[in-house]
Symmetry: C2
Subunit: 218 residues, 2 copies
Amino acid sequence: MATPTPQTAPTGGLRERKKQRTRDALIRAALELFTEQGYETTTIDEIAEAVDVSQRTFFRYFANKQDVAFAVQDMVEARFLDELRARPADEAPLTALRSAVMVAWDDIGNAIASVIPVDLHMRSYQMIESTPALVAAHLRRSSELEEQIAQLIARREGLDVDADPRPRVLVAAFSGVMRVAGKVWGEGQDCTVAAIRELTQSYLDHIGPAIDVDWKTR
Amino acid sequence: MATPTPQTAPTGGLRERKKQRTRDALIRAALELFTEQGYETTTIDEIAEAVDVSQRTFFRYFANKQDVAFAVQDMVEARFLDELRARPADEAPLTALRSAVMVAWDDIGNAIASVIPVDLHMRSYQMIESTPALVAAHLRRSSELEEQIAQLIARREGLDVDADPRPRVLVAAFSGVMRVAGKVWGEGQDCTVAAIRELTQSYLDHIGPAIDVDWKTR
DNA sequence: AGGCTAATGTCAGCCACTGACAATTGACAA
DNA sequence: TTGTCAATTGTCAGTGGCTGACATTAGCCT
């Protein structure tokens, strides 16, 4: 089943390590093929063959074709949520969100690199944005993440998401900005981590004050 | 191909009429099966068989399985856009959006009924909201519709969507409210048109003033 | 070494979807 | 009315995503 803490765990036996290597190899091969020749035109058989496993094994690691495309995103999001939970309680909500995002982007240069090259992840992001089927999946995933974030923010502030609309509203605005930033970056030239980091920061700074004011004057 | 104005057109020859009837029958049969036994568990073969056409014919009318689930939505959205374009130029943007939505809901009782019963459409809406694959598709469609609406609003006000953020922001807020309203309605008890009409109206009234103020004091 | 179990391979099959070609059927003119 | 043309449909074969069942391999532990 799902390993509770596969990341920093001492990776007990050979079995575990082998499994992790297969999984990483599948992700990397998949993203390489997706970004090179396109998502739709890449078959599961190609991915499996590149890693030298059977097609069936692929589906034992990933429930479907889309999931492998979002595997790295999953890691980034998990990091983001962890960081958000770790933010000091006296930080304003939007500030906490902002800080968590920045830490997440910085992390990409470190933790993610152990699985795939950073530039491959960046190209994958652009590939997702330009593949209709993946855009749809991405939006759904985002809306689910939004709900989780809203819950977290609400708890931080001692609120109930169903009683007080502010957590969801803040998160909706935040997510909207993040999505636009990702889209604009994907269409632009500079496809580096630094670029999207800067863009995100700038966009968040624009919406920040407007919301902060209302939040503080309660 | 896609008929430009299939709705109120005099439906020239027998061929056209027959085509329209087949299409309507496919939509109706599909929605009936989807709502009764679920989207995933319904096969294209079942739908085709219910209308007594070949599977291949189904795919000549709809590019994929999802499209037939959104066929009626397409009509409603087209109506909405038409109505929005027809709103007087002196109406405030949010007011125009609001009016167009209300007209669209009222239309459902009339125009839509010629294709499928209203309650089937209502149940289909709930079915979409509770089917992950369709939720994803719905979100993507919504984001595309948002862009169209933003362009329309911008033209009304003589603005450029890329230069002035207000059209997109207003539309994003508007769409967010619409989506939440749809979701809440879907989870509630009263699955009537009147109910969602009222809910939409109420939700829009809540966000309306807050945005109106900023918009008017430019 | 040998038994246990998790991971993998193989195989058969369902379903969404597509291209190609043949058969049917309105439309329209002679 | 009839014959021609073009649009609609059916049939067939094939690809690719995805799953269940069962046999096989390979790490783990005594």
